[in-house]
Amino acid sequence: MAAPVPWACCAVLAAAAAVVYTQRHSPQEAPHVQYERLGSDVTLPCGTANWDAAVTWRVNGTDLAPDLLNGSQLVLRGLELGHSGLYACFHRDSWHLRHQVLLHVGLPPREPVLSCRSNTYPKGFYCSWHLPTPTYIPNTFNVTVLHGSKIMVCEKDPALKNRCHIRYMHLFSTIKYKVSISVSNALGHNATAITFDEFTIVKPDPPENVVARPVPSNPRRLEVTWQTPSTWPDPESFPLKFFLRYRPLILDQWQHVELSDGTAHTITDAYAGKEYIIQVAAKDNEIGTWSDWSVAAHATPWTEEPRHLTTEAQAPGEPALCPLPGTLSCSSAGGCHTLCTNPAAPRSLPVGHPWQGSWGRGVVPEPWEAGSACRGRRGTFERRVGGSLLGEATPA
């Protein structure tokens, strides 16, 4: 075939001239920034170099194996995050830098998660957003707030970059608010929007400074005080109601009290001598939802000084050192004692202290002391405290 030969000949000559030209005239460019999708394949050409140019590629200063090359182009398959870096190709003989690529491997954004909340009613509300999964490359967010047809300004939070604030101009509006957010990066784009009424997003911050104190001479009382959250701007016109929950540390079941007024409450049914955990939540009297639970307060009701102080380590009112309610056991010899490996465990228990034996459990109705007599009928053992029968058991 005569025709292609002279054509091929001209092509080669032209290419050679081009190579010579680019070698002499290509300027030192700033690295070309490139974003590629995780898991995809990418071919990086060495700038304007010819396909068959002799080049070496380096990433972050480290040489790359020539088997990754397709001619002068670098082929990366199945991109991973570790592939991100500065890729440079050099003319193999002269080490002249021909081209640089700053490669960022990432993902297009998934649908953002957007939520809005008013903890400063009636001043305003804020909206926060985040992406459910990271993209590993920079994203820009754009938030728009519409009240009916009116556009409202969402001021960026000075500290948190994924939050902005909107001020209420009017209260008691029947028109819903629509907040839209769009997120985009070099690999893609996504958006979402939420619509809500003014009242539904009201959720105060938790009450502050929750303090619980024992009440002197009252072994079953605890006095709890707290403050309205400092972010709630107008508790006078927009009063809060409160929800208190408390339980002894050793039990799982919470007790609840709802309080429509005031920032104090006295618990009157605490188990004597038990450490309590107490939390408070707040809600606008009429609208919105309950706040999160406050930071927990701990307290133990007042207890009388034990008459027989068997261990110096046991201060009045402190919980018994036995794990879980002290395990009591009766021996056939007729003595009752706590079965604990802890030598500092109390040998006497105050009223209200839960006990648990091999036959059951209960609460000490009267002060119990080690060595209280156990009287046993044939085949059966009774446990008595101060004359009252507490329980029976048959030996194993």
Partner: protein
């Protein structure tokens, strides 16, 4: 407005006129009375009760209207229903309302809303809906009476309608079924919002009108409506 036979809007206007002339509740005896506090509290409690009642009523009624009215994301532009009393108010204006204005706005709003609700009742298709609406109207009437009581206790006269400002919510010539439903939707929405606002209004009144002695001085200020 012309009163054609069977014109429900005409009947509506007639009823509304009657409503405006509710007998004023006589002022409470000043000596030894506990002050307006208890009646403010009672009015506040009534708004809460009504708001609770409205929630189930609105749910039923919106289901009766069908989609899109009963969809939670339904967010239509506020077209039509211009004569509905709007609860929305600028924050600073609301905060600085004096007691008389605050109470008057509440009273006038519920008077209008009650009128419209009675119109709604007339058109409601099912007997159950009519029953619920009638029950709600009765409760709303009670709220109006309660507000009137507070106004009297504080020495404020009941608002009298100026000629030409009677609620005249006449539909346009070709008021379609859909537009009528839209009006119903906005009526219920505005009613709900007013009840929330009233709770806040009466909260504010509660805090301001504490000692009974103050009631006497307020009475003296109330002249000249």
């Amino acid at each position: 407005m012309d009163l054609r036979a069977g014109d429900s809007w005409g009947m509506l206007a007639c009823l509304c006129t009657v409503l405006w002339h509710l007998p004023a509740v006589p002022a409470l005896n000043r000596t030894g009375d506990p002050g307006p506090g208890p009646s403010i509290q009672k009015t506040y409690d009534l708004t809460r009760y009504l708001e609770h009642q409205l929630r189930s009523l609105a749910g039923t009624y919106l289901n009766y209207l069908g989609p899109p009215f009963n969809e939670p994301d339904f967010n239509p532009p506020r077209l039509g229903a211009e004569t509905l009393p709007r609860a929305t108010v600028n924050l600073e204006v609301w905060r600085s309302l004096n007691d008389k204005l605050r109470l008057t706005q509440n009273y006038e709003a519920y008077s209008h809303l009650l009128c419209y609700l009675r119109g709604l009742n007339r058109q409601a298709a099912t007997a159950e809906l009519r029953r619920s609406l009638a029950h709600f109207c009765t409760s709303l009437q009670g709220l109006l009476g309660s507000i009137a009581g507070v106004m009297a206790a504080l020495g404020h006269p009941l608002p009298q309608p100026l000629p030409g400002t009677e609620p005249a919510w006449a539909p346009g010539p070709a008021h379609s079924d859909f537009l009528q439903k839209m009006d119903d939707f906005w009526l219920l929405k505005e009613l709900q919002t007013w009840l929330w606002r009233s709770a806040k209004d009466f909260n504010r009144l509660k805090k301001k009108v504490q000692p009974p002695a103050a009631a006497v001085t307020l009475h003296l200020e109330a002249h000249g409506f």
